[in-house]
């Protein structure tokens, strides 16, 4: 019987691709990390370091070369609705309204519920992400930020065991990103789902996470350190920014990222 402090466990994860010349490209090597139930963890690193590879394996979208992922003490067999995934692009079905996009997933995970029960779930989550007035709009009528709000609502409405978020705000401008981070932190606070989010945004990680896992640059990326984020919850932007440790932690994170910045021609 496992304790809840290893609710999502990534164990000795290694991902290797064969190269055309017969060699091997090692993306991630021996990545070990465990997330407690109800904890929000951000995985931070530079673009291309392999953090999305870790997340995709946890989502079951990519098989690991070695090692594995356990959720609630069971090895994941592949993708499944026990893990809600949010990508950088919300991937909404363009011919369906925001409501129907969220409903689609709810129908799969709650087949025995009544139509009214399902509609209530969909409405609740769309309201939480601030889309009460835009529920019956199609994606083409929504801004990018609003589409990603639908993406968040869809993942939460599945009532998954674990939320996996892969740079969900990476396509948004930095101010819209601030807004969506607030939407995410508030929505998350209501059900406290165990969450793993990949990002390269230092402020985003500090605002959202209980702990930040730092990933070194690939090839053969590994865990470079873990930072505890002590800000009390519920969190507001103003309170977090005024916390005496905020800029101390921010500097630590930036120092880590600068240290691991690959020199590349800009």
């Amino acid at each position: 019987m496992r304790s809840d402090d290893k609710y999502l466990e990534i164990s000795h994860l290694t991902k290797v691709y064969p190269k055309p010349d017969g060699g091997e490209a090692v993306i991630v090597r021996d990545f070990d990390f465990a997330i407690a139930k109800g904890e929000f963890v951000c995985l931070i690193g530079h673009s291309g370091c392999g953090k999305s590879t870790v997340l995709s394996i946890a989502a079951g979208l990519l098989p690991p070369t070695e090692g594995g992922v356990l959720v609630d003490d069971k090895e994941i067999p592949g993708p499944g609705p026990d893990r809600g995934v949010v990508f950088q692009s919300p991937c909404l079905l363009p011919w369906m309204t925001a409501f129907d996009n969220v409903l689609l997933g709810v129908e799969v995970v709650k087949p025995l519920s009544t139509r009214a029960e399902r509609a209530a779930i969909v409405t609740r989550y769309l309201e939480r992400v601030g889309l009460a007035g835009a529920m019956h709009k199609q994606p083409s009528e929504l801004s990018q930020g609003m589409r990603q709000r639908v993406g968040l609502a869809r993942a939460f409405a599945l009532d998954p065991k674990v939320l996996l978020l892969d740079e969900p705000f990476g396509m948004l401008d930095s101010l819209t990103r601030f807004e969506l981070q607030e939407v995410l932190v508030d929505t998350w606070a209501a059900d406290r789902k165990t969450a793993l989010m990949v990002t390269h945004d230092v402020d985003e990680a500090l605002f959202l996470a209980d702990r930040i896992a730092l990933m070194t640059n690939g090839p053969a990326a590994r865990l470079g350190g873990v930072l505890d984020v002590p800000f009390p919850r519920p969190r507001t932007r103003a309170a977090v920014l005024e916390h005496p440790d905020y800029y101390v932690l921010r500097e630590k994170l930036i120092a880590f990222l600068e240290e691991h910045a690959v020199s590349k021609a800009a």
């Binding site: 530079h46 009460a132 083409s140 401008d173 101010l175 601030f178 500097e251 930036i254 021609a265 800009a266």
Partner: protein, 286 residues
């Protein structure tokens, strides 16, 4: 005296459409930029930042209000105002050198050819592109293309450089490198620069003064905030500078507070065109 109000905008308003279909983009924009100053305007996507640059560049005229540069009204585009856009706008069939040379040739037509070539070469070197001078835009990365656009704008020796989200299309690492380059080039050239961005940290790294722009419609400037942080600025060590924390928190507080609520009240009264909002990636609260 003239240096204090080198670039001046007074009561500038701009909207599109007429009658019921009228939508105000910018309202009551007042701005005074000193010669040699680097001002950053920070605002949301879709707030009207590009409209503002277009007016300063003379590409569109304001509905009301005045724009002057060194006391002379701005009535159309001119070589004394250099513009760098987000999308680089290079000529794809010309090499990096030829793109820059074209601007030099237009601006300094009377110069002998060798002087023009040397001038273009010098400006490519200024942005660290000497080695890529004979490459075409398709052979260059996004960051390198934006360097060419910057070299082209600087080579025309404008009195003021207008930059409209010049780094927004680049990845975080490339953006950081180019931010440092812009700071360095500004330090040596002491050009007057107005840089528009949605990135608070970019503004903190570069600006003498940050001016937040509220969300639209009818976007307007919030209170200007001076950035009293010594240069050169280092994005890591700034974090333990009390002035950095104070200015950063003030800018963010305005943009997420009064600067955002202002727009929400207006939007409740008159919903903006959503199709347009989605094209520009603007965030529209429901």
């Amino acid at each position: 005296m003239a240096d204090a109000g080198f670039l001046e905008l007074g009561g500038v308003c701009k909207g599109y459409g007429t009658g019921d279909a009228r939508s105000e983009v910018l309202a009551d924009i007042d701005l005074s930029v000193a010669r040699g100053e680097l001002v950053c305007i920070v605002g949301y996507s879709g707030a009207g930042k590009t409209t503002l640059v277009s007016m300063m560049a003379g590409l569109t005229a304001p509905d009301r209000g005045t724009i002057t540069l060194a006391g002379k009204p701005v009535t159309g585009p001119g070589a004394e105002r250099g513009v760098v856009f987000q999308n680089y706008s290079l000529l794809p069939w010309l090499t990096a050198f030829e793109n820059v040379y074209l601007a030099v040739d237009q601006r300094f037509a009377e110069w002998p050819k060798e002087k023009k070539r040397a001038h273009a070469t010098q400006h490519l070197a200024l942005v660290n592109l000497a080695a890529a001078r004979d490459k075409r835009p398709s052979e260059l990365s996004g960051g390198m293309r934006q360097r060419v656009a910057l070299a082209r704008a600087l080579a025309a020796d404008p009195e003021v450089l207008l930059m409209d989200e010049p780094l927004s299309a680049l990845d975080a690492l490339t953006r950081a490198t180019l931010q440092d380059e812009i700071a360095r080039i500004w330090e040596t050239s002491k050009k007057t620069i107005v840089l528009i961005t949605n990135d608070v940290d970019e503004a903190l790294l570069l600006a003498d003064r940050i001016i937040p722009l509220s969300v639209g419609p009818a976007a307007t400037f919030g209170p200007a905030i001076a950035v009293p942080i010594p240069r050169p600025r280092d994005r890591k060590s700034m974090n333990h500078d009390a002035r950095f924390k104070a200015v950063r928190n003030e800018v963010i507080a305005y943009l997420l507070g009064p600067g955002r609520r202002r727009g929400e009240a207006d939007r409740a009264a008159a919903p903006v065109a959503l199709a347009n909002a989605s094209e520009s990636g603007a965030e529209v609260a429901a």
